[in-house]
């Protein structure tokens, strides 16, 4: 799962040479063995490394504040989103919905690694939502639709259909 993400990320970043990853531990944490230096363990670590390799550091944020927010969301992905239970899903969606009310991207005003990794992480949840629920968490759906159509982001994941018009008028359940 994480390995597919990393290979997608590589394609997305335009890295020509795919790396070989191995996994460690029962949680299948990806490991990248480098020639020079210690092994890189963890999705976020490797992802950041890949971004630096591809010389696309703007994906990690331009200002110090943006960089911090990107790191915050990368951590959110690993600690909260991965392997969350059904009850937590509702809480996460509600939080995200509230956060995204006035933002186009998760961190700052430009597309960052946080958007990509959160998109990969949340895809399986959004895919299984009914149309009515998607309309309930309107901001999440809007952000998701925006990211999944971003050139180069969606590789191994199925597109999720988002209707252009609201089918359930507000207030009705």
């Amino acid at each position: 799962m994480a390995l597919k993400e990393l290979s997608s990320l590589e394609k997305c970043l335009g890295l020509k040479k795919p790396n070989k990853y191995s996994t460690q531990g029962e949680r299948k944490v990806p490991v990248l063995q480098n020639n020079n230096g210690p092994a890189l363990v963890g999705l976020v670590t490797i992802a950041s490394h890949l971004v630096h390799e591809a010389k696309r550091t703007e994906l990690l944020g331009n200002s110090a504040e943006q960089r911090a927010v990107v790191q915050q969301w990368l951590e959110y992905r690993i600690t909260r989103l991965d392997n969350c239970s059904k009850e937590e899903v509702k809480v996460i969606l509600k939080e995200l919905n509230q956060y995204l009310e006035d933002k186009v991207y998760l961190a700052g005003n430009s597309f960052t690694l946080a958007d990509t990794l959160m998109y990969y992480g949340i895809h399986h949840i959004i895919m299984n939502l009914a149309v009515q629920e998607k309309e309930k968490f309107l901001n999440v759906t809007r952000w998701f639709d925006h990211i999944q159509h971003y050139p180069g982001v969606r590789h191994h994941l199925a597109p999720v259909v988002v209707l252009r018009n609201r089918v359930y008028p507000s207030g009705q359940h």
Partner: protein, 582 residues
């Protein structure tokens, strides 16, 4: 009063005055209805009811009085039907004439005084609460209604009197008409008791918002309790009518649906229930009228049948003398037999029994089915057009004549008004599947629509075409019953259709197989025992016209038209797997 009387004898035994006997004449005080008398002057008696001014003649009784006014020593005899003169009618010396009788009515044969009261009360003309409007200002009227609420405040008691959907404020105040005891009596009458009041209609300057009759108030002069209600009611009517949201916000009580259904008699008195069932009666009537105008014939089909028509699983068994029989799941077979019997266009309104153990918001074990069957000339779409036109006429009739009821229901259960197109929107099943796929639902071409998909489709259609009512034509053959005619152009589909209101199915219909041979093949294909449906197949062996039809559920149509969420609200005494009473 013209009193015929006869002088009996010239001197009274007691006092020596002249004994006079009144000839009987029918009459009793119309106000009091009792035989009460007080002596006005010699030989003239008048009604002793306090404020009544009519003079009367004693009923059918001959009483001898002494002209000096000594009271008769014996009580008046029982009232008799025909006037009778006593046998001892001696020489009539004179006929006395006095003032003309004011009111003078024939008395029905009654046994005792209390029934005589009923006759008098029949002289009260009761006015409907609906008619209490400013143009009756100043009039003294009688009203019979229920006590909806009562509130006493020292020397006054405010009552709200309710009659079906209408209510009016009434006031009992201590004054020259009412005593303090009367105010206390009025305040202590239990809620929901039926009372007769005589009151003066007063116009008010400030509108009484909480009542339906906002411009008038009744000032009560007399109040009688006709039927008293027990003091502890199982549920309060204001609570039963309160909308859910208001109950939550303000923390006030609302009544659970189960409680309402257990005490249906009281729940049905609420304005909302009255409105719902008047509208349902309207649906039934519009259905009948529209179809009769189209040349349909109403039939009644048997409900006790020998073989389960739609498969043995969902049918109630009854013991029928030495064998058992079944309660009809639908009038399908008999409708078709009527078509084969040359009735051409038939409809029937009757109960339908489905023993499905479904505890959902839209299933009942017994409901009223409105079924249509029609022979057509060239294409089964003629039948679809006929059915949809009937439905549109029903919707129009409800919209035009039942707005008050719709608004009343809307107060407790707010919803969007029902929208429909004319001519009715007709989509093909294939288009519907495409729409659902475009919305992200994965389903096969020949797969049946699940309930969530039906609802989603309803919303998509509403969003795209702005209608709550549409027809889905050409269902896949695999999901329809054996008697459905396959599509001649495409063997995977059938000439069958479903109609939806607000995304929920209300009608399932199809062109039926009218050829016995083809019917047998289809039945075998579905693995049905031919012996069980032999009578059905036989009815097509002697010439049957091509025909189609469908059936709707009355309760579901009312529920979906009003935008309610549970079919039990539109069934007067609902039956479901868990409820058999009331």
């Amino acid at each position: 009063m013209n009193l015929q009387c006869v002088v009996l004898q010239s001197d009274c035994n007691n006092c020596g005055g002249i004994l006079i006997q009144y000839e009987s004449a029918a009459g009793l005080c119309p106000s009091a209805g009792t035989v009460l008398w007080r002596r006005l002057r010699n030989s003239v008696y008048g009604c002793s009811w306090r404020r009544c001014s009519c003079l009367f003649v004693c009923l059918s009784v001959c009483v001898a009085f002494c002209s000096n006014g000594v009271e008769p020593s014996s009580r008046p005899a029982a009232v008799r039907q025909t006037p009778a003169l006593p046998d001892a009618a001696p020489t009539a010396h004179k006929a006395w004439e006095s003032e003309p009788l004011e009111s003078h009515r024939a008395v029905r044969h009654t046994a005792e005084g209390s029934d005589a009261l009923t006759c008098a009360q029949r002289d009260r003309t009761l006015v409907r609460v609906q008619e209490l409007t400013p143009h009756r200002g100043g009039q003294l009227v009688w009203v019979r209604a229920r006590i909806h609420t009562s509130r006493a405040k020292g020397k006054q008691c405010f009552l709200v009197l309710r009659q079906q959907q209408f209510n009016v404020q009434a006031l009992v105040a201590v004054g020259d008409r009412a005593s303090k005891q009367m105010v206390k009596f009025a305040a202590n009458i239990t809620k929901e008791s039926i009372v007769d009041v005589e009151a003066v209609v007063q116009t008010v300057e400030q509108k009484i918002e909480s009542c339906s009759q906002q411009d008038v108030e009744l000032h009560i002069e007399r109040i009688f309790v006709i039927s008293q209600a027990e003091p502890r009611l199982p549920l309060q009517l204001e609570d039963a009518v309160r909308p859910e949201t208001e109950g939550e916000e303000e923390g006030r009580a609302t009544v659970n649906q189960d409680t309402k259904l257990d005490n249906r008699v009281i729940d049905l008195r609420t304005t909302t229930s009255q409105a719902i069932f008047r509208l349902q009666s309207g649906v039934c009537q519009l259905f009948r009228d529209t179809l009769i105008n189209k040349g349909f014939v109403e039939i009644q089909t048997p409900k006790i049948i020998s073989a389960a028509s739609e498969g043995g699983a969902n049918v109630f068994t009854v013991s029928y003398f030495k064998t058992s029989a079944y309660l009809a799941q639908s009038p399908q077979l008999y409708k078709q037999m009527c078509i084969c019997a040359d009735f051409d266009k038939v409809f029937c309104v009757g109960p339908v029994f489905r023993a499905e153990d479904s505890n959902t918001h839209r299933h009942l074990t017994e409901f009223v089915g409105l079924d249509i069957e029609m022979a057509f000339n060239y294409h089964y779409h003629e039948v679809i057009d006929s059915i949809t036109d009937t439905m549109v006429q029903i919707f129009k009739g409800l919209r035009d004549h039942f707005q008050t009821e719709i608004q009343t229901v809307g107060k407790q259960y707010p919803s969007e008004p029902f929208k429909f197109l004319e001519p009715t929107l007709r989509l093909e099943y294939r288009e519907a599947v495409a729409m659902l796929r475009a919305a992200g639902v994965e389903m096969g071409d020949e797969e049946d629509l699940s309930t969530p998909n039906e609802k989603l489709l309803g919303r998509l259609v509403k969003e795209k075409y702005d209608t709550d009512f549409y027809v889905l034509d050409k269902y896949p053959l695999a999901v329809r019953p054996f008697y459905t005619m396959p599509d001649p152009n495409n063997p995977k589909y059938s000439n069958s259709y479903d109609m939806f209101m607000r995304g929920e199915e209300i009608l399932s219909g199809a062109q039926r197989v009218h050829d016995a041979q083809l019917l047998t093949e289809r039945a075998l294909h579905h693995g049905i025992d031919l012996e069980k449906i032999k009578a059905y197949i036989d009815s097509f062996r002697y010439g049957a016209p091509p025909h189609a039809g469908g059936g709707i559920g009355l309760e579901r149509v009312t529920m979906l038209y009003l935008g309610l969420h549970n079919v039990r609200q539109t069934s007067m005494f609902p039956r479901d797997p868990k409820r058999l009473t009331p």
